[in-house]
Symmetry: C2
Amino acid sequence: MTQLLRVQNFVVSSDGFGAGEGQSLERPFGHADPATMMAWAGATASWPNRTDPGGSRGLDDYFTRDFSHNIGAEIMGAHKFSPHRGPWENHEWQGWWGDEPPFHTPVFVMTHHPRPSFTLSDTTFHFVDGSPAEVLEQAREAAQGRDVRLGGGATVVREFLDADLVDTLHVAVAPVELGAGARLWTSPEELHERFHCDVVPSPSGVTHHLFWRR
Amino acid sequence: MTQLLRVQNFVVSSDGFGAGEGQSLERPFGHADPATMMAWAGATASWPNRTDPGGSRGLDDYFTRDFSHNIGAEIMGAHKFSPHRGPWENHEWQGWWGDEPPFHTPVFVMTHHPRPSFTLSDTTFHFVDGSPAEVLEQAREAAQGRDVRLGGGATVVREFLDADLVDTLHVAVAPVELGAGARLWTSPEELHERFHCDVVPSPSGVTHHLFWRR
């Protein structure tokens, strides 16, 4: 079986930004509101952070529950892990996700600043410095035959696209304009030369773009 | 966790038939051509019977790979298992699927005619006589906390719908007219009073109807 590198449930604004400007401890997505960007997933029965019963089991639920399907490791950028820039001043910060991170696999955080690995529940965070191809090789080995999820942010997805390492992408375009921030694309058409694409509008208002290699 | 009863990847013709007329050993779907009805799934990368590499990884692939997601048992009608009618003359017939059936769980075949259970690879077939509610109870217990798939055919799906036991349905409407056969519905609107519904056209030509309880 091929081990794919997959982008899953990555949300961008209608103008192509994965996050807004001005990331801080209080605002992990900068001026973007993550609740609005992720509303389509949050309304589904499979949303892992759901506290009330119910939730939809339609199209958006398929994408939400597919998030971890056959995934054995995640790669993310340093800014997805932390608002901090530069060398780690201490190791108190352990990510935005509390004691039960939603990954349940090894996670490789790309950073130039070394830090020891640590484990929270069934997720272990490793801090790695290297090219996209090198980090992917480490993540593939950790995934033990399963696929690797490329978790973002937008800048990291673009780096892996530039290195032609991405096999499939699911990008949900939310009906929100951000105007500025971390850009994934100017238009999804930028990917059409290298990828097949299905464009699937959801009743929730997002449009799912599904790309796979030609 | 609730254990759902789910209809998954059930294909009907544009006029609402799950299979044609005149089932026989050579034609499990009667005058319907299963290759045409299932073409949307057969073209995907996740199709379990795929012999050549490749295959699409777009919308239809999500449904194909979701077939076994969190499923712990299947319920099927006798006509999905065999073209035979009446008491079993012998036990040589072991289904249409060869030595590696695609279920990988216990399967409960609804029949008035007793027969001993048997196992092929990781699928065990049980033959059970009872009401839909009784059979569902057996399947739920066997599923050990996971969901139960209702595999069809159309008549069996209708029986479980009439007993109000179905939680979710994914029905793929193929661009094929059959004119006669085992009918699931005259129109999908028959279910709208009891179920929410997303209608999702696929570039492959099928239209996916996703229903979940109101």
